[in-house]
Symmetry: C2
Subunit: 261 residues, 2 copies
């Protein structure tokens, strides 16, 4: 089966950490590519060992980019691409995603025998290039990363409005715990409220910082840890997931009421 | 003197809390208007007592909007406007800011005898409508809100790139403390590193939540508190500020090195 997955969520919520770790988990049995669609361009750092040149950077110097200029092999043969973003204040922040998707398409990267394609997409705004993985059907299924915090759930609700608008398929909510009170219950109730469900829970763990410090994933540095097992479980649960919904996001009054009860 | 100030920062960092509280502080002696430029449209909730209709909402129903349709009087005569944002997935998230700035200009709101104009602007991306307060010279001076956290400083550095690109004047960095280790020192070193300075420090305080719960500012609900005094001091220090710089943002390697030393 060919899985094309987009992972959205508020900036800093833990998308790149989750994407890089589940990619490493998939690499145990699958051909997988990770495509960073966040101007921060750091999704693949822990897979490749350092920051990749971005597609936008490469195209500044080379008019005709080839696959080897933009697709790099990382840990356990995970293929890695970083879209990059323009200089702040110059054009649409999502421009890197648009350019990168077009280039990868043109270079035939997607017609490859890839089992799993994972997009890591900025979710603070759902517009311009950041809507492309949904809009242009580069991704078939969307997962939204959140914690139990107001700001993260607000963003998740906002992203769900975008998914609904663009007729995307929401596969589920991933709870990346920040350690706040009643967190899993809050996130679970949020998921139900928008007609979805929690597809995985990742605990907060110092192993994330420790492995990140070495530019490695938890899967690479601590393969026998409980944390690594939780990324394997999440990868499996996403792979096996066959429940998708068009989300039913809350309007602002419903959301305020939901959070403050 | 006529102060036109834009407050930028990462989503959730505390812009609206700071903007509404310093506006309340200014209202003690000045005519002040607050213009929300964040699609969350909640900058003025604690000044007005509830969520305002946004400019985008009003223009859906009324083709010819008048001043009284979009500008509302809140606490202590602070004037309040919310730009709003489009539905996620539909057009540029900054479109509300563009529409709202044009309307306020056309209605002559800025030719009023206002002493202080404060824009509260989303800073997760610096593009489209979110660059308008800088680009179109609606604001003369910019302040960036941050904490000592990586994500907040990363965003502050990014915003500084946008300010430099758009030839804005950076008045200083506001530290809205999250209570992390060595926070003020980290933020202060960051400010120096980009050629700016810390113009104010706001402590983390439960009074923020308590007053927010009643849809009030700390200034209104707890006027005699230390927290209220810190907003008064920040308002004064911004008002008296005459040191502006074009920031010298860090490139990604410098930033990583700065944060991880
Ligand atoms: N489960 C976790 N436990 C501890 N720290 C985490 C966890 N997930 C993410 N982090 C930390 O949070 C920060 C932001 O994560 P990141 O994956 O870069 O977010 P995003 O890609 O959404 O911006 C990183 O410094 C990372 O180390
Ligand atoms: N100094 C502070 N102490 C405690 N909580 C704060 C403080 N400043 C902001 N907050 C809280 O942080 C959250 C985000 O603040 P807000 O002003 O809405 O951020 P932004 O406008 O940047 O998105 C709010 O729930 C607010 O109550
Ligand atoms: S569409 Fe979104 S990302 Fe593009 S300019 Fe507008 S706000 Fe920025
Ligand atoms: Mg990321
Ligand atoms: Mg706000």
């Amino acid at each position: 089966k060919n899985k094309k997955i987009a992972i959205y969520g508020k900036g800093g919520i833990g998308k790149s950490t989750i994407v890089s770790n589940i990619a490493a988990a998939y690499s145990e049995n699958h051909k997988v590519i990770v495509i960073g669609c966040d101007p921060k361009a750091d999704t693949t750092r822990t897979l490749y060992g350092k920051r990749l040149p971005t597609v936008l950077d490469v195209l500044k110097d080379k008019r005709q980019a080839q696959i080897e200029d933009v697709v790099f092999e990382g840990f356990n043969q995970v293929m890695c691409v970083e879209s990059g973003g323009p200089e702040p204040g110059v054009g649409c922040a999502g421009r890197g995603v648009i350019v990168s998707m077009n280039l990868l398409d043109k270079l035939g990267v997607f017609s490859d025998d890839l089992d799993v394609v994972i997009y890591d997409v900025l979710g603070d705004v759902v517009c311009g290039g950041f809507a492309v993985p949904l809009r242009e059907e580069f991704a078939d299924e969307v997962y939204v990363v959140t914690s139990g915090e107001y700001m993260a759930l607000y963003a998740a609700n906002n992203i769900s409005k975008g998914i609904k608008k663009l007729k995307g398929n929401l596969g589920g909510i991933i709870c990346n715990c920040k350690g706040i009170e009643n967190e899993e219950k809050t996130v679970s109730e949020f998921a139900s409220a928008i007609g979805s469900r929690v597809v995985g829970v990742i605990a907060r763990s110092q192993l994330v910082q420790k492995s990140e410090y070495d530019a490695k994933t938890v899967m690479e540095k601590f393969p026998d840890s409980k944390q690594a097992d939780s990324y394997r479980k999440l990868a499996r649960d996403i792979y096996d997931n066959d429940k998708f919904t068009v989300p039913n996001p809350m309007d602002i009054d419903e959301f305020e009421e939901f959070f403050h009860k």
